[in-house]
Amino acid sequence: MIDTSLFQLVCFYAFAAVTVVAALSVITLRNSVHAVLALVLTFFSTACIWMLAEAEFLAIALIVVYVGAVMVLFLFVVMMLDIDQEKIREGFVKYLPVGLVVAVVMLVEMLGLIGVRVMHAQTMGENPATAAGMSNTAWLGMALYSQYLLPFEIAALILTVGVIAAVALTLRQRTGARKQHASEQVAVRAKDRVRIIKMAAERPVETPPAAPVQESKP
């Protein structure tokens, strides 16, 4: 009754439809927070499609990295922005030709990719992970850390350079800014801040004032 391959096909079309609708709403929704959420949905349903294609690691990595971290920061920034919606829509007609050209180029490229894929369909062979009898994640790890170790490390290095560059951009000397130094704060001892003085609980009674009182009596 429940045919697995048919069920998979139905799932694929369902996820694909959600992906397309969500991707379209990213560029059509007026509210920018809604657009970011639509992008999250796009990523999520793309991950579901990859899961169907037995690319578990990539699918979960997409959710952990993009949905869980990158898009949260996106949302963070977009919520803080004070965007004037009308101003953004003003340039729509002006940029339309450029946008159309980009869209056409991308369409041609994608069609070309599909054509190449069809020609190579026979040579692709079966899933190497299943052939090796390993889980998708284990096989990917093996391949990345043995066969492709050097490219992998180079990619990591380039990303690190990017991180350092981004941090360096925010490092600038501001005059008049107050900073807190945690090490100094931790190193503070009570005797640096508080001076304890020993003194009597009561002030000693002073005798001199007694004399003037007597003078004013008569």
């Binding site: 429940i2 959420l37 999250v40 979960i60 869980g68 971290a69 963070f76 994640t137």
Partner: protein
């Protein structure tokens, strides 16, 4: 035909209910236990009127919350306002799919279980952010901002801790990770010993990730009233509450499973009866970790916000990175025995 339907649809549904229903009851009891423990620490009685020892207090509170009105603030984003508690709750419940309760009792014995957990715990923050934004309130938005930055920072530290565990265990499957901690020396075979700094970092990150005291700046009653859920009332508020406590119990489960041998006994296998692996051991460990959460809350004052960020980025992440290398060396040179062979 009908047989297949039962096996593929109804049984998993039944098993899911068998996990979710006890979880919800556990959350209610946990809330009661929190109020009791904190009461004792303050030299008070805690709840003691409803039912024996006040046990039914939490259930009475749930009923009260459910019959209250859910108020929609003016100019709030209606759809997102109602959706946010659900977005917070669903990942908190979905994560339980891969948690093993004993050798056999697990909903989905997925190979990439640990990755799935990371994915699910990273989704929970959307509920908080959306709640803060859609409420149309300054306090709620501030709470959401704080929470987003904090959760992302501590997720990195947490991820590095999990990498250490999976380097030693050589698997992402939670059942396999528990099996990798089996041995003849009882509790000294578990991963907490070779990964001691990481174990501490993991648990503290878990407290920060669930926005609990002393890291509860997202709620910060004394500064921003109640943070992201200040506008929520009734059952919508109850859902946030449920998600938070389910996540706390989840962190307690993970600390027990990843670092403290899950259902394995702390005694060597040669000890009769006590040496046998039993889910009761898991329950005891989870209870201890869950109570630690409450102890922290009663003991520590709230961290200042910049100190939270400093702790996450400048202390925990470097410790995590260094210990990934140490764990790699331990595995490579065979300093740690993995599995029953040791």
């Amino acid at each position: 035909m009908g047989d297949q339907l039962i096996h593929q649809l109804l049984l998993p549904l039944l098993y899911t209910i068998c996990v979710v229903l006890p979880l919800v009851i556990a959350v209610a009891l946990y809330v009661w236990w929190e109020r009791k423990v904190i009461g004792w620490m303050h030299v008070r009685m805690g709840p003691n009127k409803v039912g024996p020892f006040g046990l039914l207090q939490a259930f009475a509170d749930v009923v009260k919350l459910l019959v209250k009105e859910v108020i929609l603030p003016t100019n709030a984003n209606k759809a997102l306002y109602y959706l946010a508690p659900l977005i917070g709750l669903v990942p908190a419940l979905a994560a339980w799919a891969v948690i093993p309760f004993s050798d056999k009792a697990v909903l989905s014995n997925a190979n990439a279980g640990l990755l799935y957990l990371l994915a699910m715990t990273s989704l929970g923050v959307y509920g908080i952010i959306l709640a803060g934004w859609s409420s149309n309130s300054r306090y709620a938005l501030l709470g959401a901002m704080r929470s987003a930055a904090q959760v992302i920072s501590y997720e990195l530290a947490m991820g590095l801790c999990l990498v250490c565990v999976l380097v030693l265990a050589g698997s992402l499957n939670l059942t396999d990770i528990v099996h990798a901690q089996a041995g003849n020396k009882g509790l000294f075979d578990w991963f907490w010993l070779p990964l001691l700094p990481v174990f501490v970092v993991y648990f503290i990150s878990g407290v920060a990730e669930t926005n609990r005291a002393p890291f509860d700046v997202a709620e910060g009653e004394s500064e921003i009233v109640a943070g992201f859920h200040v506008e929520y009332s009734g059952s919508a508020f109850a859902l946030f509450f449920l998600a938070e406590y389910a996540n706390m119990i989840l962190v307690a489960f993970l600390a027990s499973i990843l670092f403290c041998g899950g259902w394995l006994s702390p005694f060597p296998a040669s000890v009769p009866v006590l040496g046998a692996a039993n889910p009761v051991w898991l329950a005891i460990k989870v209870f201890v970790f869950a109570t630690l959460f409450l102890w922290f809350r009663a003991t520590f004052p709230r961290y200042r916000y910049d100190q939270i960020m400093r702790l996450g980025w400048k202390v925990f992440i470097p410790i995590g990175i260094v210990w990934v290398l140490v764990a790699g060396c331990m595995k490579y040179y065979g300093w740690v025995h993995v599995g029953t062979g040791g």
